[in-house]
């Protein structure tokens, strides 16, 4: 059938022509480095529930710190959705709606938080950018302004993956920020949360014993294996780190401690640094 001479495929010559793109040996390209598109970019993600939902007392100092950092650093500021996303998730689940629709609904809340943060920085030249602008016009926007704000959720929408367990969208703010930072080859990927970093749930503490211990630096695989119940970052990010081309480290800092964002942007080790495990010397 497929050798019937009347069927002439109009092929373009390329190394992938006529391939399924699924043959593992043919899609390999071990020595070809991927370019960092924006090597000076800092991706700073503000937690929805952990920072923005806390209101003026938490948000204002964080915004002031970001404003002050603009003279030194070019930033893509991304926002998470917070408690309203939980509410709409609750309503959507109750209505029987699928994961893809839930993802679209939650993303809308992250966007609204982005609009609010951008409004607070508007007089400094900061605007909210849509997903399309972030994907296609980020360079020009960050040449016109030192910082922009966008939605931390990735634009998966109705094309969100069904998760392995349950129906909650697997790609949320943390994953969206990570994938975007890696695609642009960002210099730093910083998650601003309301805890000092990743802490172990010391088994002793559950028996009323010692304190949970802060982990200053840990590998992604190692951290996943620890199975910590109160991880301040979505575990899917730790999985994504295994294949990332550029982002080999992410930093989680406490935005409620003044100066932390500034320090992290300056390359100081505050909070927890999670590194991609496979590139470490053994």
């Amino acid at each position: 059938m497929t050798t019937d001479p009347t069927f002439v495929t109009k092929d373009l010559v390329s190394v992938f022509a006529r391939q399924t793109l699924l043959d593992r040996d043919l899609v390999r390209q071990p020595d070809r480095p991927v370019v960092r598109l924006l090597p000076w970019l800092n991706v700073v993600t503000l937690g929805g529930r952990s920072i923005i939902d806390r209101g003026v007392e938490t948000v204002r100092p964080v915004v002031d710190e970001l404003r002050a950092a603009m003279s030194e650093h070019r930033m893509l500021i991304l926002t998470g959705p917070g408690v309203r996303a939980r509410h709409v998730l609750g309503v959507g689940l109750d209505l029987g709606l699928p994961t893809g629709v839930l993802a679209s609904l939650m993303s809308e809340e992250a966007k609204q938080n982005g609009h609010m943060i951008a409004a607070l920085l508007a007089e400094d030249g900061v605007s909210y950018l849509s997903h399309t602008s972030v994907a296609h016009r980020l360079a020009v926007h960050l040449s016109a302004s030192r910082a922009v704000v966008s939605n931390g959720f990735p634009p998966y929408g109705i094309f969100e993956f069904p998760p392995a367990v349950g129906k909650i969208p697997p790609h949320q703010t943390d994953a969206g920020a990570f994938l975007l930072a890696d695609a642009y080859g960002a210099a730093r990927t910083i998650y601003v949360k309301d805890v000092d970093g990743v802490s172990t749930s010391d088994p002793a503490s559950e028996n009323g014993g010692g304190q949970p211990e802060l982990l200053p630096r840990i590998g992604a695989t190692e951290l996943l294996a620890m199975n910590i119940a109160t991880l301040p970052i979505d575990p899917i990010v730790l999985e994504l780190m295994a294949t990332a081309k550029h982002v080999k480290e992410i930093q989680i800092v406490n935005g409620r401690t003044p100066g932390n964002i500034t320090k992290a942007l300056a390359g100081e080790h505050v909070g927890t640094i999670i590194h991609a495990t496979r590139d470490l010397p053994t």
Binding site: L12, S14, Q19, T20, L21, P98, F161, K167, D182
Partner: protein, 272 residues
């Protein structure tokens, strides 16, 4: 009453736990599954396998789809094909990241959707654009079918593959996810082979057809090449609506209609 209790428990977990909390995730799975467009069949028309062949392959498929539209509601996704492969090869050589390749691939599947749309215009079939999914119910109700570009809109947020930079979630995945989110009746991949083979039948003469297989069996076989994007298998494992897909040969007249009627005319891959 039990329903109300489990819903109350879910709502309280939603407000108190992290969204990756295992107990919350499990509870979210107890929510009902509402199928949004349960009568719609999603078809994917291959790019390299069919559209790149030109009118000799595409005209008969257009006629068959137009005929099938009388009896079946259809959402028709398009693949990308040889131009995407050219662009992927070029972009890879230039050291561009997966996100940029995704965007380029999306444009090619968009061109194919556009061409198929013009060919089906006289049959009253519209093309759904980027933001047109909001009106998809209207298109289906009024026109019986709609065409969309199969590439998912992941753009710069596409997953990065373990090796190389080729986008792992392409048009097979996009069409599958469209079928899943709408709770569609079935997902049919229209390609240029009779189904799934033990190897690529275009390059390996010893390849034999596998008429039916489960996702787990297929993953275990670890075939070096595959008729469907590998990540679709993982998506199938987790899907709540689409529990099987069929891969059929669009070059054989009549198979699209037979597959739409639920006949087994290619390879059926099922989750289990």
């Amino acid at each position: 009453m039990e329903d109300a209790d489990s819903n109350g428990a879910l709502q309280s977990l939603l407000m108190s736990r992290s969204l990756s909390d295992p107990e919350l995730l499990a509870a979210s799975g107890t929510a009902p599954d509402y199928a949004i467009l349960p009568e719609v069949s999603v078809l994917k028309i291959g790019g390299q396998s069919l559209i790149d062949r030109g009118r000799v392959a595409v005209y008969p498929i257009v006629e068959e789809l137009a005929e099938a539209k009388r009896s079946f509601q259809m959402l028709i996704g398009t693949g990308a094909g040889t131009r995407a492969r050219h662009a992927y090869a070029l972009a890879m050589e230039l050291g561009l990241p997966t996100g940029v390749l995704t965007d380029v691939g999306a444009a090619v599947s968009g061109q194919n959707a556009q061409m198929l749309g013009h060919l089906m215009a006289r049959h009253g079939v519209p093309v759904v654009g980027d933001t047109g999914f909001g009106a998809v119910a209207l298109y289906i109700a009024e026109c019986g079918a709609a065409i969309f570009a199969g590439m998912p809109p992941y753009d710069m947020w596409q997953h990065v593959p373990a090796e190389g930079v080729i986008p792992p979630y392409r048009t097979d995945a996009g069409c599958f996810l469209a079928a899943e989110v709408y709770g569609a009746r079935q997902m049919i991949y229209v390609k240029d082979e009779d189904g799934l083979y033990t190897a690529n039948p275009k390059t390996d003469k010893s390849a034999t057809l596998i008429p039916q297989i489960t996702v787990d069996e297929l993953i275990d076989m670890d075939l070096p090449d595959l008729v469907i994007e590998r990540p679709v298998l993982e998506l199938m494992r987790n899907a709540r609506h689409i529990r099987s897909v069929q891969v059929i040969n669009g070059l054989r007249p009549g198979l699209i209609s037979r597959a739409l009627r639920g006949e087994h005319v290619g390879t059926i891959i099922s989750a289990q």
